[in-house]
């Protein structure tokens, strides 16, 4: 019996070796590049250079927070409405919601740009009913809209799965105890769906703050987010070190915020994976 369990544990060794070489080591390399210059000498100058990018950092954080908030404001009611629909229609709606998740992000973002662009579909449609053309691509609104458009399903899915598992009798009990609909929603349904909200927020916030394609396309070359900055530094080997420093800071910020958020939903963590 002992021998059997030993053999089973051996099965994990390829993965452990793989994880050390290709997960842990690359992250150490990010740190190494962040603290060295091109000749491999230790330096703080890359970190110091971050101060030149603090506005980009701030802009990215703002954009992704706004996009996450809008996703939550649209996504929660949507998930709620879907979870209350009859079973047959519900599975159809969920499929409809999942289809865009299967589509490549580049295609979705690009199709959005094709609609919103100057001389694009929307403007020519409005033009044909006499409304003058207006500029959308290249505004902050367009970039935020792109984030919401691309990542909304990631907000709805986890909230929906928590809401459908919830016992309907709980809110009925709240009604019996004198709550009105709003109070039952705020005091029972909302707190109980918190784990879904938190995983939805994480799944929208992380890709939003690190995107570079959305801002490239919908920002029309005028809006630079932190992802664009990182991508640009990695075009040229001479700026790898600065790029690594920016990535390191972004990664630490994200891991901290994810860890803080996960802390709030500890009891829902039944996958066995302990994060940080």
């Amino acid at each position: 019996m002992k021998q059997r369990s030993f053999m089973a544990r051996i099965c994990a060794s390829p993965h452990i070796v793989w994880a050390i070489i290709f997960i842990v080591a690359p992250l150490l390399f990010v740190a190494y590049y962040a603290f060295t210059d091109q000749n491999g000498r230790f330096t703080f100058s890359n970190i110091a250079e971050l101060s030149a990018h603090w506005e980009t950092f701030l802009l990215s954080v703002c954009f992704s927070l706004i996009a996450t908030a809008i996703c939550l404001l649209i996504g929660y009611p949507l998930a709620y409405a879907i979870s209350k629909a009859p079973a047959k229609r519900r599975s159809m709606l969920i499929t409809l919601l999942m289809i865009p998740m299967w589509m490549n992000l580049l295609i979705r973002t690009y199709s959005l740009m094709a609609i919103l662009d100057d001389g694009g579909f929307l403007n020519s449609l409005l033009g044909s009913i006499g409304i003058p053309e207006f500029h959308i691509v290249g505004t902050s609104g367009a970039v935020i809209f792109g984030m919401v458009y691309d990542f909304l399903p990631y907000m709805v899915m986890p909230i929906h799965s928590v809401l459908t598992k919830m016992d309907d009798r709980l809110s009925e009990a709240a009604f019996d105890l004198g709550c009105n609909r709003l109070e039952a929603l705020l005091k029972v349904t909302l707190p109980m769906s918190l784990p879904g909200i938190i995983s939805g927020v994480t799944m929208v916030f992380v890709p939003s703050i690190s995107t570079f394609y959305i801002s490239q396309k919908l920002g029309g070359g005028t809006i630079f987010l932190i992802g664009d900055t990182i991508e640009m530094q990695f075009q040229n080997p001479a700026t790898y070190n600065v790029g690594a420093a920016i990535s390191l800071v972004m990664m630490i910020l994200i891991l901290i915020s994810v860890a803080v958020m996960n802390h709030f939903s500890e009891d829902s963590d039944d996958d066995g994976g302990i994060i940080l």
Binding site: F29, I209, V258
Partner: protein
């Protein structure tokens, strides 16, 4: 209340699907405009199919997805078996945390971190073109691993722990017990993990972008370079084909799934 929520759901879905519909419509446009539909034509499809680049990219994408999914499934299943057998919960936790890093980290960080590793090793070995199919394969296996492990692990928890013991009491060797009993009950998880790994790899752009060399292009990378220059609607044609393929596969899997459900209830 009821109608309001119906209107709301409809509105969100209309906005969600409108851009894709417009994209498909304008892939059949004879002119380059995305605003005015001149006349119906297959011009962009003809152009797309006349370029060997498209087929090469498609072939590359499929090779990469299939091989990375296969490797990740084997390593990941082994990892799940091993982690499940471990008693020390700190070791277990540490392994799961490290495994989940590529899932938690933004893709761009995973991409550049692997690129830096490859570039550094390439520099040590003085290889000029270190980024190639192999670096992409390694990167894809790495980000696929957590998904495989997360789909296999729960199957162990659902399985009755006494089943393999019973098999051994009935004369199976430990290895036979594994292949006849345990593998059977974790197989659905392995299949889910493999399919997930395959589709994630097909779809990935960001990590591929940083770990790919000039010699190996996949479809997402091709779409990116198409949208970087002045766009010609052959990109719409390509996207339309991808969208239609995915829809067909989803419908097919739903129909097959529904049939399977019916059989199961019978």
């Amino acid at each position: 209340m009821k109608t309001l929520s119906k209107v709301f759901i409809a509105l969100v879905f209309v906005i969600m699907y409108a851009p894709l519909a417009v994209l498909i419509l304008f892939s059949f446009n004879s002119s380059k405009s995305t605003g005015v539909f001149s006349e119906f034509s297959f011009r962009w499809y003809a152009e797309l199919f006349s370029s060997p680049e498209t087929f090469l990219a498609l072939r590359n994408t499929l090779i990469l997805a299939a091989s990375s999914a296969a490797i990740a499934t084997v390593i990941g299943t082994g990892a799940a078996i091993g982690i499940n057998a471990m008693k020390n919960k700190y070791v277990k936790g540490a392994i799961s945390s490290v495994t989940n890093i590529p899932m938690m980290n933004p893709d761009i960080v995973t991409g550049i971190s692997m690129m830096l590793l490859f570039v550094f090793i390439g520099g040590l070995l003085s290889v000029t073109e270190v980024l190639s199919f192999w670096t992409m394969l390694i990167a894809h296996v790495t980000f696929n691993l957590p998904y495989v492990i997360l789909s296999v692990m729960p199957k162990f928890r659902q399985m009755d722990k006494h089943l393999p013991e019973a098999a051994m009491d009935l004369g199976c060797t430990p290895l036979q017990a594994f292949f006849k009993v345990e593998l059977h009950s974790i197989l659905p998880g392995i299949i889910t993990g493999a399919v997930m790994a395959f589709t994630l790899s097909l779809d990935d752009f960001v990590i591929s972008y940083f770990t790919a060399g000039s010699s190996f292009q996949t479809l997402p990378l091709m779409i990116y370079s198409m949208t970087k220059k002045e766009v010609t609607p052959d990109m719409y044609a390509l996207s339309t084909i991808i969208i239609v393929t995915i829809l067909a596969l989803l419908i097919l899997s739903n129909v097959l799934g529904a049939k399977g459900d019916k059989k199961a209830t019978r």
